[in-house]
Amino acid sequence: MTDIVVAVFSFFGAIFILLASIGLIRMPDAYLRISVTTKAATLGIGLLLLAATIHFEDFAVTTRVMAIILFILLTAPISGHLIGRASYFSGVKLWKDSIMDDMDGKYHKATQELKSEDVKELQKREKEEKELIKKKPLK
């Protein structure tokens, strides 16, 4: 009985890792590839390690495997975020059919500061307000 459960868990884990690798090949863009590797691969590894716990039925092994799964669950989003941030700053292009880029024009390239408003639009609006004050001075 345990053998069947171990076989099912490890099979689905291997399938998820295969799907992650196919996604890494097929996705058109570095950011979409990051999204694939952080989700599908984490689930696949978790299922394979759970299969190992069910097979051994040992408390020491279970704690060790839980530590590995917790570590991977914590670190996979962090590393995905870090590498995505670094790739955006280094100028990796989005896919040509991507609809919108939320960070477009909202960060300073030299200082790497992010702002919630568009930097160019902010400067243009300030200039217009100054001109308006020049035209109609307050009484």
Partner: protein, 89 residues
């Protein structure tokens, strides 16, 4: 079909095929970011390999190696992203 045969003839070949596909992306990758992602995924697949192998040989002590490998994958990605970000300043 015993569990031993199942892991030997189905799980390990699927994992090997996925490593080959990731290696193709690692060689082809247009930018350095794609290569870093592929390296990260190869090491993560290595953790899966170790889990399958420890079931196959009935030795749970291999799982210690899996823990260290997961740590190395995270540290490698963090170091590479730091280096990519600093290089373009």
């Amino acid at each position: 079909m015993t569990l031993h045969e199942f892991i030997n003839y189905i799980i390990i070949p699927i994992l090997s095929l996925s490593v080959l596909l990731i290696l193709w992306r690692f060689i082809k990758g247009p930018s350095i970011v794609d290569r870093v992602i592929a390296l990260d995924l190869i090491i993560t697949t290595g953790v899966g390999f170790i889990a399958a192998y420890s079931i196959l040989t009935n030795r749970p002590s291999f799982l210690d190696v899996a823990m260290i490998l997961a740590l190395i994958a995270f540290l490698g990605t963090v170091a590479f992203s730091y280096y990519i970000q600093k290089r373009n300043k």
